[in-house]
């Protein structure tokens, strides 16, 4: 039994997103606090350097005597240049902290010291309200709006106004299509192909780009690009599916949060576009783990018909033969102009 894939293309839903620090630190917001995308909601330090001091050697004493000259407690915060041990003798020999940090362990004439490391700031990433928090690790921000999930992202985040390019859902975005009206905007395009397009986008500068597809060969350029890049369909020449294209078109001029995080199926993380909207009527959290039933809107994940959208007409019982001869669980899908085609259930993605 194949459980189908699912992608959210939701017009108005309640979106809750946990934001976590990469290591324990301090969360600076409280529950019910309103936040903007750029607000810092937590801080920590990363990759601290470690120093192992031979205090006995440094002070010119045997280890058992050197311990008497230790000046700091374990876990004590120390500034760079502060004395860790000493002074000893008429030369007033001392061991000093190489940078701001803390004493981790000391004794037997030795001392282990940890520098402060690089500081890291966690931002809210979307406008909303803090609805939950773990004091040392992260907070959950809630907003109401439209949600579009992508399939690939370059691990960057930004917030900006959505602008459609003239390329349409299947057209190619060329550098010549970019203009000054797109400054500070999140640009939506059918496809990318030009290896220099990222340089052009940064030069405008735009705040992010959402495209249907791009060649996999552009991945290194996209990864090193300073703005977020989200791909909605896959790699190659696949137009953006009409459901996503129409949702983004209808929100042209609105602000959107672009989180081009890598897909992590264990954690349920996908690159996503969140467009905060005024809550009109009742919005609910997006439906998960939907079953494939007749009438369901789906898109095709693999050749032939990759990227095409349609609706399920019937679900034949048992395993069905495919044109290549293999037998799998199938669904009959109405694919617009192409008509009715039989496709493996495993190759279908429910759009909801």
């Amino acid at each position: 039994m194949d459980l189908p894939n699912q992608t959210h293309v939701s017009l108005l839903v309640v979106i809750r997103r946990p934001r976590s620090l990469p290591s324990r630190g301090t969360i600076t917001v409280r529950v019910n606090q309103k936040v903007s995308p750029a607000d810092v909601i937590g801080r920590t330090t990363l990759a601290p350097a470690h120093y192992l001091f031979d205090i006995a050697h440094g002070l010119g004493l045997p280890p058992e005597k050197a311990d008497r000259y230790l000046r700091r407690e374990v876990d004590e915060r120390v500034s760079g240049g502060d004395i860790l041990a000493g002074p000893v003798g008429w030369m007033r020999r001392v061991v000093r902290a190489p940078e701001e940090g803390r004493v981790v362990l000391q004794g037997d004439g030795r001392l282990l010291y940890e520098g402060l490391g690089e500081s890291f700031e966690l931002r809210a990433g979307l406008p909303g309200t803090v609805v939950g928090m773990d004091p040392d690790i992260g907070a959950t921000v809630e907003t109401v709006g439209a949600l579009v999930e992508g399939v690939w992202g370059n691990d960057r985040q930004e917030f900006g106004v959505i602008r459609m390019t003239s390329s349409g859902s299947g057209g190619l975005l060329a550098s010549s299509d970019l203009n000054m009206d797109m400054r500070g905007a999140i640009v939506v395009a059918g496809r990318l192909e030009d290896p220099n397009i990222f340089r052009s986008l940064v030069a405008v500068p735009v705040r992010g780009v959402i495209c249907g597809s791009m060649p996999a060969a552009l991945i290194p350029a996209a990864v090193s690009c300073a703005i977020p890049v989200i791909v909605t369909e896959g790699f190659g020449r696949i137009p953006m599916n009409s459901a996503i294209f129409e949702l983004l078109s209808s929100n042209t001029g609105r602000e959107a949060s672009l989180n081009a995080q890598s897909m992590d199926s264990w954690k349920g993380l996908r690159p996503e576009v969140i467009i905060p909207l005024p809550a009109v009527g009742s919005a609910d959290v997006p439906a998960e783990a939907l079953q494939l039933v007749v009438g369901r809107r789906v898109r095709v994940l693999r050749d032939p018909y990759k990227g095409r959208e349609g609706s399920v007409v019937s679900l034949p019982e048992g395993l069905q033969p495919l044109p290549n001869g293999i037998r799998v669980q199938c669904a009959d899908v109405e694919l617009g102009e192409t008509g009715l085609v039989r496709l493996p259930v495993a190759n279908l993605d429910i759009l909801e």
Binding site: D2, N5, L52, L112, E114, F235, R302, G325, I326, L343
Partner: protein, 590 residues
């Protein structure tokens, strides 16, 4: 059976439920006694539900078991939803449950050794036998300061630290100095992310090492020294310990696994060990100077196991999979090497896009003929890449004359959806022949239900069931293959054969170089073959030109004579090569 013969003793655990949780699919198989033999009664599968939004592997297992129950008309659960163990009359319940895990999860390993070319190299080799990713390496020879080594370990955030160093009775001070660095690094890691340590160094300091790490509050396992002397390597105990520790880590990460472990008495076997167990068994029972090979290609990893007499080699390659890491194949092999297996023109960008799209949607299946050929070409190169790396370090207790080729093997077992779900058996046979290029006379076996890993794990409970199921339709013979070693020109004679059936019928054939000949010998049918071999070719039957007369058994794809030569040569003209790919598939699926 005469009146005086006692019936064979059947073990207590009659029915076995095999559960295998894979990266994309979870499978459930029922083994039971049918006509006094253990048989795999049925298998059912469901998408694995380890990922969000389910985050509970139990859901996929129960769905697969529900399907299985429908197929065989039995009940596994009682009214309160509890598994019925042991089985009751009327086909409800099972006597024992076996659980294996072949799920790909990012298990991070840091390697620690005294010398980069000795102990560290052995640990590196050990990691190839388990689904782990190496995130850091430190050794006394790496020219870093102790602080640098500590920074490297802390930044790597390992789940496992694998330590080796010091031969038996050899270096001990240096080992302890290195362990101090390891201990201090682990001491500084947050409690919730402290790694497990596997110590496989000089056993004379093992107790001291455990004592040193006591304050770090991390679990420490000690296995036999992986490098007891400079010129001897002993990977087996470390391999078992590493796989068990990997399973423990996965166990802690997987939602819903505890409920399943209650069914197995806490036993959970990593899939590579399951495959290794079966191959070791087959290697021991192989004809003299022959071994056995098993290969499984899945969305989590490619596993290659080889057994020769008492040795077992295991290679687990999470970097070669049909899932998230599919694009890494292009770092192990050139795109042209994939394209050479295709009967149509392809390009670097098309294959790169294909692999990246496969990594986004690992559960998808090829729906068009072209897509199927690409997937099979990718699988060929994944197997070839795994063999290329593993073969040089195999401990084969005999010599063989074919340099660069596999040692002679009595059987090759192929496992994975890409092999089991093919339009015709010939597709799977050709894939194995192309990827492994066996030489001599070999049997190709198909793991038709993708359950060989779970079956191997069942050996712990019921070895007889493993032996009998291996000999059942769940593992059909794809073909007996006869593969002469040698080179010639296309169309030149390679061998002449006469196949004599038990009813007296005979067929004769002349096989030409560059072709595959399939003699009609259906599954289970036996015959006698007489081979006259051209002097430029060797079948391992006594030298070049030496033919023989020996019994053969048919398979799903018949009796295959692969006269393409070894090593397999490709046409330099791409158009001719593409035509050859089509010709070979046509010849083998005739």
């Amino acid at each position: 059976m005469s009146d005086h013969e006692a019936p064979p003793q059947m073990p207590e655990a009659d029915s076995l439920l095999l559960l295998n949780i894979g990266t994309t699919h979870t499978r459930a198989s029922l083994i039971d006694i049918v006509e006094r033999q253990y048989r795999m009664v049925a298998t059912a599968d469901c998408t694995t539900t380890a990922d969000a939004p389910y985050s509970d592997v139990g859901e996929g297992v129960r769905a697969a078991m529900d399907q299985l129950a429908n197929l065989v008309g039995c009940e596994f659960f009682d009214e309160s939803g509890m598994l019925i163990v042991p089985s009751r009359g009327g086909g409800s319940g099972v006597d024992a449950v076996v659980l294996t895990l072949s799920l790909q999860a990012d298990v991070r390993a840091a390697l620690v050794g005294l010398l980069p070319d000795i102990s560290l190299q052995s640990v590196r080799k050990l990691t190839e036998s388990a689904p782990v990713r190496v995130v850091a390496e430190i050794s006394l020879g790496d020219k870093r300061t102790d602080e640098g080594r500590m920074d490297a370990l802390c930044r790597a955030k390992p789940d496992l630290v694998l330590v080796a160093g010091g031969s038996e009775g050899g270096a001990s001070d240096a080992v302890l100095r290195l362990m101090e660095v390891v201990g201090l690094s682990i001491y500084m890691m947050p409690q919730e992310s402290k790694p497990q340590v596997l110590y496989m160094g000089n056993s004379t300091v093992a107790e001291k090492v455990q004592e040193m790490l006591k304050g770090c509050q991390c679990p420490v396992t000690v296995a036999r020294n992986i490098r007891p002397s400079v010129d001897r390597e002993d990977l087996d105990p470390g391999r078992v310990a590493l796989n068990e520790m990997t399973a423990q880590i996965l166990r802690a990460r997987l939602g819903g696994i505890e409920g399943l472990l209650a069914w197995t008495g806490g036993e959970l076997t990593p899939s590579p060990l399951g495959l290794g167990t079966v191959i070791q068994l087959l290697g021991r029972s192989a004809p003299p100077k022959k071994g056995a090979i098993g290969v499984s290609v899945g969305s989590g990893s490619t596993i290659l196991a080889a057994g020769f007499s008492d040795t077992m080699e295991l290679s687990v390659r999470p970097d070669l999979n049909l899932g998230r890491n599919a694009p890494l194949l292009l770092k192990r092999t050139a795109w042209r090497d994939i394209a050479r297996w295709l009967p149509f023109d392809s390009s670097e960008s098309a294959l790169t896009n294909y692999l990246h799209n496969k990594s986004l949607f690992p559960h998808t299946v090829p729906a068009s003929p072209e897509d199927l050929r690409i997937e099979m070409a990718v699988v060929r190169e994944m197997i070839r890449a795994a063999v290329r790396t593993a073969l040089p370090s195999w401990r084969v207790p005999f010599t063989w004359p074919w340099a660069g080729l596999l040692p002679p093997v009595g059987c090759i077992i192929g496992s994975g959806s890409a092999l089991a779900n093919v339009p015709k058996p010939g597709y799977a046979a050709l894939l194995l022949l192309d990827a492994l290029q066996p030489a001599g006379v070999t049997n190709l076996i198909l793991d038709a239900q993708n359950m060989i890993c779970a079956l191997g794990a069942a050996g712990r409970i019921n070895p007889l069931a493993v032996v009998q199921v291996m000999d059942s339709p769940a593992f059909p013979r794809l073909a007996t293959v006869i593969c002469p070693v040698g080179k010639s020109h296309p169309g030149d004679p390679v061998l002449r054969y006469r196949l004599q059936y038990p009813d007296g019928r005979q067929i004769r054939g002349d096989v030409r170089f560059g072709t595959i000949d399939v003699a009609p010998l259906p599954l289970g049918q036996k015959a006698q073959i007489n081979i006259q071999l051209h002097r430029h070719f060797d079948l391992g039957l006594g030298g070049y030109g030496q033919g023989a007369n020996f019994p053969v058994e048919g398979g799903l794809a018949g009796l295959i004579i692969d006269a393409r030569g070894r090593p397999l040569a490709f046409e330099s003209d791409p158009a001719k090569n593409r035509k050859r790919q089509d010709d070979w598939l046509t010849q083998i699926t005739v």
